[in-house]
Symmetry: C2
Subunit: 123 residues, 2 copies
DNA sequence: ACAACCGTATTATAGCAATAATACAGTTAC
DNA sequence: GTAACTGTATTATTGCTATAATACGGTTGT
């Protein structure tokens, strides 16, 4: 019911508020959250992740603007999404990662098969 | 002789000074520069890339600290490296990209073969 | 030797992410 | 109904990246 954030390990490669949004989208894609599930309160999550409440608020605000979160003053914050949105996020997230990988290895002159082999080697 | 930076397209995903260092390393890996080749002066490169001279200085300083650049007051800035360093950079750069890709697609539950297929699809 | 370059250094300013400390009004649970 | 929570908002401060404007002394080419 209440989404678990204990597996979220923050890094310094991107803003924290974006990592939080991404974490939720990946949970959607993995069917680890369902439509109507509840997010922890801003204060609770800020304590769990040991980041400032304002940073959490920024993440939640972003999700509201994307239309996957609804919250009311004094009330719970609930996820809101349908299957077609999950499909869209899944495709988006995977394509972005593949394109990033491909772009970088192309810079170093790899062929498609070398890029594929490199994935297998490092898996 | 003088390293060409015209192909370097800056983005906002990482600090500019780091993108410059990475660009040089990739040129090393691709044999597009040789030991002893010259980098443009700080002022010239700052004009070419349209960034502040201090940003270029930060990049060059970093390369000096990594031991691939030597520069003297009033004189040219020269690349300095051997084959084993190229091999090291090649391996480092490729492994980092593969690991990043693998880590992300694993988060979304892909198998190795699905990850491989995704690379082929987007190539 | 002198002008035009070089590398190097310093100080100030701006924007963004994040922190810190509050404050206020709405809701929920007992 | 009251206490303990909620979302929301504001102001100040810090650190990092980048810009801006200089300044100084070394090297190079003519």
């Amino acid at each position: 019911m209440v989404v678990d954030f204990s597996e979220l390990k923050l890094n310094e490669e991107s803003p924290i508020y974006m990592q939080i949004v991404r974490f939720v989208k990946i949970k959607m894609v993995n069917r680890q959250v369902r439509d109507g599930d509840e997010l922890p309160s801003r204060r609770v999550l800020s304590a769990v992740l040991e980041v400032n409440p304002n940073t959490i608020q920024k993440a939640y605000r972003l999700m509201e603007e994307e239309g996957i979160l609804v919250s009311f003053a004094g009330s719970k914050s609930l996820l809101q999404f349908n299957e077609s949105l999950v499909d869209k996020y899944r495709k988006e997230l995977l394509t972005v990662e593949a394109e990033k990988y491909i772009e970088e290895v192309k810079k170093m002159g790899l062929t498609a098969e070398e890029a594929v082999a490199l994935v297998r080697e490092n898996w």
